[in-house]
């Protein structure tokens, strides 16, 4: 029942002294019950509202560390209700993991005197809150949820698209109708089967009653299949839905003719039961995929932010990035990600361009230089003059490329369709030959000849075959979802199973994407603390790593001035590049910071560490028979080091996005099937071009949109597991198809010779489906 069982897998002590009483994160001994002031505040808020039952009720410990609200104008998203005074706000609430979270959020909001209604959906992670009063209350109400420890974002159109699936609703409706029809027709059919002493008139009544139910049911509930078959026919393709449609329609027509000529049996039960079974399989398949899409949309919604537009008079307003036109000026706060292309208006800027170029070190930009969208501002607030609106910018160009790649992928022929291409003409040919043989060859009336022909259609009718692949998909996608791997595309697993070479990006994929201080035994005592006190006032990733490496709590020193891209200064202390500290540039071996004080100069060296499980993941990929390549936009020495540490022979540094895409294209031209794994905007093109693709946790939204698989769990270890699951699923799908075909070899001759009765057909159909479903369950084992 839990929407996020992956989180439950982590056994954590609930309220022991070593775990934060609110979020469950480890707490150093003697530091109290909470890991941070935010958690303490959240617990105080919950206790103050009298809602502490939450801690007893929740299942497992979710990520509940309170975070500040995203820089979004929530009041602009509030919609006025009918009377004009009341407002409503829809929020995406990440971290809603169990019923207790829903209860906590709803109760906490309901305690506000002006809140009229608060309702959270655990499945969609959507919170709807309505209140009496002005729209400006929106941010405060969202803030309550954020203070409890849930990350919130405005409910975006993408979230809505992922949640509201009209087709799924239509399938559910069709399934209800088909189930009603199947059960009621079966009630009448069983009476005919067991009532051998039944009078002719009674039997005819039963048949006509069955027809009365079955005809509208077949017409309405079969619509999803007819539509798909018609679309395929118009496109000149053959798919499994054609066999289903023809089988169901022919069975119904033949049963009607049998009812008319008062034959011993009708087959309405077979037609309706087949529809019900196939619709159930299809609905489950769709629901599993929607869950994955929803989780993806949730990840993206947390990233979407607004921009700060500067009016001519210097006033700042937060607006959606899509409303900004070229030539307008934006204020980019420290730590904010640039949403639009532009040039730097004045001064200097320091940007982290890891997402756009793969460089692990930040770059300095001078006034007038072009700033790429997707980079993160590490220096002071900067003013950017937009050169291209969102729809024409570089990010939009990548999006268009992804759309084209998506269409190319839509043409991928799945294994089920491949089987259908051979199977459908053969099955229909056999049925036609049976009909002609009995009618012309044996001289039966055409209505009687129709019975064995349609019986052949029903027993060949791909009940087992049609659910052979979806059943496997449902099981495998569900198993991967529990491991934190989101599979959105219907053919992703098939393509993933076939991959034979893995192309990995370095920064942010194999590595954590942030530098860490290397240990240095020769470092004088106290130097780290002194340097960290300076570094605490900077956003530069090296400075942050320095602070993070300092074991004691660091208070930012006063009077520190920062020269973007150069270093920090306080009095005669300096922290920055060797040149900034007035030292001769030493042999640079990776990123380094120099600290110079009157006592002397100390070097701090850093490295972007590999993810702890990177080596294991690479080895596991190799064990699965995939060759591993490293393709990075970072400087060659850093790439070489990472490749050496992981034992990867094929590597390349300094690759531009075009180089990456070209390498994938080259591999494909050689007949290889590359699996691309990357996280940046610079990887998006390569991800879209690859045979299959994956992006790790914390990827940019474009990379996630381009990838077939999104790894939600931290680390790469889920990737080899996903490949293994995909291969197991593919093997199970093949076995299922082989089984369905083998069983036809026995069933078809019987049907052609006229030995098959509706009872036998029903038993055979149900048993073959059961075998296929049971086999599919194996695909999800130990995923």
């Amino acid at each position: 029942m839990n929407a996020l069982p992956a989180r439950l897998d982590v056994e954590e002590p609930r309220l022991s002294a070593a775990a934060c009483a609110h979020c469950g994160a480890p707490v150093p001994a003697g530091a109290g019950r909470f890991c941070c002031a935010g958690c303490e505040g959240a617990a105080a808020l919950i206790a103050g509202l009298g809602l502490d039952a939450f801690y007893r009720r929740r299942e497992g410990v979710a990520e509940l560390r309170p975070v500040p609200l995203p820089p979004v104008d929530f009041s602009a998203r509030a919609e006025p209700l009918g009377n004009g005074r009341d407002h409503r706000l829809d929020l995406m609430v990440a971290g809603l993991a169990c019923g207790a979270c829903v209860w906590l959020v709803e109760q906490a909001l309901a305690m506000e005197p002006d809140v009229l209604r608060a309702r959270a959906s655990l499945t969609a992670r959507r919170l709807t809150v309505e209140w009496r009063g002005p729209a400006s209350r929106a941010a405060e109400l969202a803030g309550i949820v954020a203070r409890l420890g849930f990350r919130v974002a405005p409910w975006s159109a993408a979230c809505l698209r992922a949640t509201e699936d009209a087709e799924e609703k239509a399938l559910a409706r069709a399934l209800g109708i088909a189930a009603f029809g199947a059960s009621n027709v079966m009630m009448l059919s069983v009476a005919v089967w067991v009532g051998s002493d039944m009078g002719e008139a009674t039997r005819a009544l039963m048949h006509w009653l069955a027809a009365l139910i079955a005809l509208p049911v077949v017409l309405v509930a079969g619509m999803p299949f007819y539509r798909s078959a018609y679309a395929a026919l118009r496109a000149g393709r053959i798919n499994m839905d054609m066999a289903v449609s023809l089988g169901v329609v022919a069975t119904t027509a033949m049963s009607l003719s049998e009812a008319l000529r008062q034959g011993p049996f009708t087959w309405f039960d077979g037609a309706t039961a087949l529809l019900a079974l196939l619709l159930a399989g299809r609905l489950l398949d769709r629901a599993a995929r929607r869950r994955a899409r929803q989780a993806c949309a949730e990840l993206l919604a947390l990233q979407s932010a607004e921009v700060t537009r500067l009016a001519a008079d210097g006033t700042a307003r937060r607006v959606g990035a899509e409303t900004v036109r070229a030539g307008e000026r934006l204020l980019v706060a420290p730590g904010e990600r640039l949403s639009l292309d532009g040039v730097l208006e004045e001064g200097e800027a320091l940007l982290d361009t890891a997402a756009t170029s793969g460089e692990s070190l930040p770059r300095r930009f001078a006034a007038g230089e072009a700033l790429p969208a997707g980079a993160v501002n590490l220096g002071a607030a900067l003013v950017q003059r937009v050169t291209a609106a969102a729809a024409e910018g570089s990010l939009a160009a990548v999006s268009r490329l992804l759309e084209r790649a998506e269409q190319a992928r839509g043409r991928y022929v799945s294994i089920a369709d491949k089987a259908a291409r051979i199977y459908v003409p053969v099955a229909h040919g056999v049925a036609l030959a049976t009909f002609l043989g009995w009618w012309l060859g044996m001289g039966l009336p055409w209505q009687a000849a129709l019975v064995p022909a349609v019986a052949a259609l029903i027993v060949t009718c791909p009940c087992g075959l049609a659910i052979a692949v979806p059943a496997v998909q449902v099981v495998a996608v569900g198993a991967l979802f529990r491991r934190g791997v989101l599979v959105g595309s219907p053919t992703a697993l098939e393509r993933l199973a076939a991959c034979d070479v893995a192309v990995l990006d370095k920064t942010g994929t194999l590595t954590l994407g942030r530098p860490e201080l290397l240990a240095d035994p020769a470092r004088p005592e106290g130097a780290l603390e002194a340097a960290a006190a300076l570094a605490a006032s900077s956003r530069h990733p090296l400075a942050r790593a320095l602070v993070a490496a300092c074991p004691a709590l660091v208070a930012a020193a006063a009077g520190v001035s920062e020269l973007p891209g150069a270093g920090l200064r306080r009095g005669d202390e300096r922290l920055g590049s060797a040149a900034f500290c007035g030292l001769a540039a030493a042999e640079e071996d990776g990123p380094a910071l120099w600290y110079r004080s009157p006592a002397g100069a100390v070097a701090f060296r850093f490295a972007d560490p590999l993810r702890p499980d990177a080596a294991e993941a690479v080895a596991a990929l190799r064990r699965l028979g995939l060759e591993v390549e490293l393709l990075s936009g970072d400087a060659p020495p850093a790439v070489a080091r990472a490749a050496g540490a992981l034992g990867i022979g094929m590597w390349r540094g300094g690759a531009t996005p075009a180089d990456k895409a070209a390498r994938i294209g080259q591999l494909r031209a050689e007949g290889r099937r590359p699996l691309m794994i990357g996280d940046g905007i610079n990887d998006a093109a390569a991800l879209a071009l690859a045979h299959a693709s994956a992006s790790p946790a914390g990827s940019t939204d474009l990379a996630q949109a381009a990838a077939d698989l999104v790894l939600r769990a931290e680390g790469l270890s889920a990737l080899p597991a996903a490949v293994a699951t995909a291969r197991r699923a593919q093997a199970a799908a093949r076995q299922n198809i082989a089984f369905s075909l083998a069983y036809n070899l026995v069933a078809v001759p019987m049907a052609v010779l006229g030995f098959v009765t509706p009872l036998l057909a029903a038993v055979v159909m149900a048993s073959s489906s059961l075998v296929v479903i049971l086999n599919a369950l194996r695909a999800g084992r130990e995923a």
């Binding site: 002006d114 969609a124 559910a172 009603f180």
Partner: protein, 58 residues
């Protein structure tokens, strides 16, 4: 035959009623949050949010 005249329409009527009920639950959005619904029945003190709070309650 008399039994059939009663039982068959009765069975069909019950089936149709169930189908109509299913259609109503579907339209009513009762399948939109199955996980939440499963958890909600366990909230024992789930007091309804007051519809019209007195304006000066705090």
């Amino acid at each position: 035959m008399n039994a059939l005249a009663l039982l068959v329409p009765l069975a069909l009527g019950l089936g149709l009623a169930a189908l109509a009920f299913f259609g109503w639950t579907l339209r009513n959005g009762q399948y939109e949050d199955p996980d939440g619904a499963a958890a909600r029945i366990l909230f024992d003190d789930n007091q309804e949010t007051p519809r019209c709070p007195p304006p000066d309650s705090r």
